[in-house]
Every structure is written in structure tokens, then in C-alpha cells.
Point group: C2
Chain length 429, copies 2
Amino acid sequence: MKKYIELSKEELIKEKNKLEKEFENVRTKGLSFDMSRGKPCKEQLDLSMGMMDILNSKSDLRCEQGIDCRNYGIVDGIIEAKRFMGLFMENETKNIIIYGASSLNIMFDTIAHCMIKGVLGETPWCKIPKVKFLCPVPGYDRHFAICEYFGIEMINIPLYENGPDMDMIRNYVENDDSIKGIWCVPKYSNPLGYSYCDDTVRQFALLKPKAKDFRIFWDNAYCMHHLYPNKKDQDYLIEIVAECERVGSPDMVYKFASTSKMTFPGAGLAAIATSENNIKDLEEQLRIQIIGHDKLNQLRHVSFFKDIDHIIAHMMKHANILRPKFELVFDTLEKELSSLGIASWTKPKGGYFISFNSMNGTAKEIIKCCAEAGLKITPAGATYPYHKDPNDSNIRIAPSFPELYDLKEALLIFCLVVKLVSIKKIMEK
Amino acid sequence: MKKYIELSKEELIKEKNKLEKEFENVRTKGLSFDMSRGKPCKEQLDLSMGMMDILNSKSDLRCEQGIDCRNYGIVDGIIEAKRFMGLFMENETKNIIIYGASSLNIMFDTIAHCMIKGVLGETPWCKIPKVKFLCPVPGYDRHFAICEYFGIEMINIPLYENGPDMDMIRNYVENDDSIKGIWCVPKYSNPLGYSYCDDTVRQFALLKPKAKDFRIFWDNAYCMHHLYPNKKDQDYLIEIVAECERVGSPDMVYKFASTSKMTFPGAGLAAIATSENNIKDLEEQLRIQIIGHDKLNQLRHVSFFKDIDHIIAHMMKHANILRPKFELVFDTLEKELSSLGIASWTKPKGGYFISFNSMNGTAKEIIKCCAEAGLKITPAGATYPYHKDPNDSNIRIAPSFPELYDLKEALLIFCLVVKLVSIKKIMEK
């Protein structure tokens, strides 16, 4: 097939009529598919069912520190849980606090702490007229929602294959003391699937912020979430906490991770890694907020995973389930759309998403039409602050949850809709 | 023995010398006892070991709503967990949100929400020059710590056997719009063990606050925590959420409870109960903060407890372990101190604490001397805002954690120290 823009008016009308008939046909079937969220599928959850048996009423439920994990105590997490999270976060136990099950919750609470108490004794952000965050885009909708909740102004920063635009970031961070933070998903980013190159990470560490209380919010959500077994097909990242320490800015970064997409989302472990100063500062909040998080679940995770080899092997089982789904997306998009000149997409080697760009001004309409045909996709604009995609073109594809067979059908509907909406857009002109 | 104040100077010196010798004897033994926190003991934790087996890899881990509890979803708690918490909180599921494991965490987060977003659209508290809370005293140290963290000014309110001084409360709440909240532990209060009478609860519901965003923080921590099996020896409370609704002030109360002292502290369930308006308001925060709390632990609790009969039976097993400890405290204090006229104490029928009043100006010294003799007690002043006990006389006794034999020894040390410090105080005059 030729590119759509090269078609004659007659050819366009003919193609449009054909697509409309197909769409009508699909629409009336009353199908229901969901590609909206980065949720693991059932088979992935089954991989961790051993967790349900690993502790029982005969188990010794004391941690290494000798504390009974069934009782109060240890606000910052048992030492073996810190060691476990440290294995794949690549941080030392002294730099880690274990929280509950959700890293999103830690990010929210950390910003709440900055708002109410201020960072390491600086003025609380709620007492400052304007607090701004830099947001590499497209990005994670829940990060942006946190900023909106706290009334933090967001500034878009373009995100490229090697990381965000560092010149722009440096310019903002080093000249404007109302810039207090930046959201980063440095590895297999949501939704692009890009990973920051070494130079990007080094440039982050070398930032000299005008605001003493500027912090990098480094959400390493997909640190272990490769799709391919071969090391050369996996992205690697310079460890940011150590890098910041090495160049003399140890306090500049808060790093987050969780086991949500390793074991059970919502019932895993989440942790922050940061400098010892920041740890002390955050523990001031933590000690008031809670007596201690769920140590039994900490023990459960430690017992289940044992060591780094088990973690890697476990994550490769996840990869084996996810990879065919990602490849199905790549293949289907390639086959259905690549020749038409109406869309582009990323081909990540890990993470949970594929970022799809339709023709400018069509994303909203595509997602609306998909919904009519029974296919739920993340709302248009979600990947941008304030839900405002300036080009109305970015669509986040989340292939993990549906079964392969359903995913195939869903993708065909998606491609059909993309074609139809694109042709209409072209004919408008 | 006569009252100490009736002793002659010679008798006092003789008694003091005797006590000092005994104290020296104890001090050199290098003992170690802890009566500082309201922690369940090992035998109590063992009561819930069935929880460790109730779910396993063969279990159906879907909730009634059909959602896989291993995955993301359901931000406010599974319906059966709401029903379970509602059984002993005496609230309807529509008035309940299930959070993580800690009710303290809910209180902290709720106040954070009031600070940042404001209550139901009112001005956020962080934008108001002065926010004040009323604090019935003596009270729970962690409540006061939350206020200190958020910079909320605390005002002491005397707490009597039937509840706090309602005239004083009414006067503050109805005339000063900077009064935004009050901390209540309405049943078996911490540390006094008092329960609010019906009239007190009704007067609370009938408050007409000057500030629209005034809220009662009703921490019903010990709602099921009776010490005695006989109904006539148990305290009962009018349910506050329903009462506030009945008199036309449905939004005035946030009520909190958890299973921390029913199952495993730190690994239980915690919930808030409040009006539907407040639920909606709090869910606005919750939805940004987290994707969902641990639903597997919710399922675990529901499966373990089944129904209200099981809950009551389970709590009676706790009572059977705790009652002898409380009675040992009552008996020992009675035997050692009652005739000396140097102390008074409460005799709660439930909860986790006994409140002890030494002679004015001696509590700090008593706790310091206890520490020297190897007995750890909650720091003096902890039961008052800003750690300032105006009389330096209140001491919180937490008898739950030590074994009976150790508790006996610990109490004897305590009584010895109380006598010695009191006699010194009397001789100073």
C-alpha cells in the first residue's frame, strides 16, 4: 500500500469507505479489550505464587535483628529486606528505607514532606509562592497527578532516546530557584521505553541547582524489567545515588523502586534510596507517620527471592511472558501501518509500554473510536502534564495484561481505527 | 505502713536508708525490663498464627468483586474487608475506606490532606496562620507528635472518667475558628483507660463549630479490647458517625480503627469511617497517593475472622492473656503503695494502659531512676502535648508485653523507685 498522503482523492474515498465498513462491523460486535494500564497478566502473577506458601505458622518469624516481625518495631525496614532491595536497586543498606507496598506512595509522601517540613531544613514548599517541577515528556501520568494535587507547576522537557534535553534542564535548574524537582523514569521509561545513556546520568549528577532543595525524583520502576535474555539486548544504567555522591552532590537525588511488577502489585515491597542526610530527614517524617510497615511481607519477599540469581531468573520468567506480547505489537504495527506514513512507535527492550505517535491532532479521536469499538486505551493526553498533549498525537500502548489472542484482536482494531481516523484527517485538509 | 507525710523525720530517714539499700541492690543486678509501649506479647501474637496458613498457593485470591487481589486495583479496599472492619467498628461499608496496616498512618495522611488541600474545599490549613487542636490529657503521645510535626498548636483539655471537659471544648470549638480538630481515644483511653459516657458522645455530636472544617479525630483504637468476659464489665460507646449524622452534622467526625492489637501490629488492617462527603474528599487524595493497598492481607483477615462471633471469641483470648497482667499491676500497686498516700492510679476494664500519678514533681525522677535499675518506662511528659506534664506526675504503665513473672519483678522495682523518690521529695520540703 502507498502512503496515505500520496493517495488520490478517489483512492482516499475508496479506502475510507472500506475502513468505515470494517469499523462498523467491529463496533457492532460489542467486544471488550483493555490496553490501558501497565498491569501484569495472570500468568505473571502465578510466577510468584510460591510467596503464598513461603511463610506459614511453623516459620520462624524473627528477622536477623532478632525482632518478632509480627509485632511493632523497626520503622525503616528489616535489614535483610534492605539488602534484598539493594541487590537490584544497586544501593547500600544504609541508603535504603523500606516502606509499604507502593513506590508511588513513597513519592507522594516524600513530596508531602517537602511541602510541609521542607527539605533538610529549607523553607517548606507550601510556604513558597511558586514551586515548579520539570517533566520529561511523554511521561508517567501518576507523576503528573501528584504535582497537580500539590499545586506544583509542571514544565515540559523533551525526552529523546538517550534521555531528556539536558541543556534545557541545566538552564532551568541552574538559573531558577523555583525549580524544585524533576521526574525521571530513567530506564525503559513510561511510555517511551527509552533508557538514559551514561552521559545523561552523569550530567544529572553534575547539575548545580540554584535551589538548595532541588531534588531529582528518580523512579527506577523498571530496573529489572528487561524483555530479552541476552545482556547485549538489555539496557544498563549508571547508579545515580553513588554517582551524585561521587561528584559531591550526595543529597540531590531520591530514587524509588518496588517489587510491584516482580511479585504482586499492591502487595509487594517499595523502597527509597538516597543519601544518609536525606534518609535522616525522611525518617523524621516516617517516625511520626507510622510505627512500622509490614515486616511479615518483607520477610516473605526475602525468603522467596533468596539472592540475586533467583531475582534474575524470576524476572526472565516475566520476560518470557511479556516478550511475545511486545513482539506481537511490533509485528502488527509494522505489518498494518509502517507503509502508510501515518504513525511511528517505539520498540523498547524492557518496561511495560510502547509509545505510539499518530498524526498530529488525531490521538483523542483514535482513543474515542477505540472505546466505541470496545477497546480501552489510556486517555489521550495522559502522558503529558495537565493532560495536554501539545500535538494530540501520543498514545500509550500497554500490552501486558491481555492474553496473546485478545491482544492480537485488540491491535487489529487499534490499527483499523488509526487508519480510519488518519484518512479522515488527511481528507479534511 | 503509715502515710509518708505522717512519718516523723527520723522515720523518714530510716525508710529512705532502707529503700536506698534495696535500690542499690537492684541497680547492680543489671536487669532489663520494658513497660514502655503498648505492644502485644508473644502469646497474643500466637493467637493469630492461623493467619499465616489461611491463604496459600491453592487459594482463590479473587475478591467478591471478581478482582484478582494479587493485582492492581480497588483503591478503597475490597468490599468484604469493609464489611469485616464494619462489624467491630459498627459502621456501614459505604462509610469505610480500608488503608494499609496502620491507623496512625491514616491519621497522619488525613491531616496532611487537610493541610495541603483543605477539608471539603475549605482553605488548606497550611495557608492559615494558626491551626489549633484540642487535646484531652493525659493522652496518646503519637497524636501529639503528629500535631508537632505539622506545626499545629495544642491546647490541653482535662479528661475525666466520663470523658473530656465538654464545656471547655464547646467554648473553644464554638467561638474560635482556628480550632480545627480534637484528638479523642473514646474507649479505654490511652493512658487513663476511661471510656466516654453516652452524654459525652452526644455532646460531641451536638457541637456547632465556628470553623466549618473542624473535625473530631476519633481514634477508636481499643473498640474490641475488653479485659473482662462479662458484658457488665465491658464499656460500651455510642457510635459517633451515626450519631453525628442523626443530629445533622454528618461530616464532623473522622473515626479510625485497626486490627493492630487483634492480629499483627504493623501487618494488620486499618480503616477510616466517616461521612460519604468526607470519603469522597479523602479518596481524592488516596487516588493520587496509591493505586491500591495490600488486598491479599485484606483477604487474609477476612478469611481468618469469618464473622463477629469469631472476632469476639478471638478478642476474649487476648483478654485472657492481658487480664492477669492488669490485675497483677492493680494488686501490686495496691499492696505496695495504697497506704502510703504518695500515688494514685486508674483501673481500666480494657485497652492497653494504666495511668499512674505520682506526687507532683516526681515523675521525671521516677522514670530516670527506673531506667538506672533497668526498667524502661514511657518517658515522663509523653502523655502531654509538647512533653510538658504541668504537674510532672503522670506515668503510663504498659503491662502487656512482659511475661507475668518479669512484670512482677518490674512492678516491684517500679514501686520501690516510687517510694524512694517520693520520700526524697517529702524530705526536701
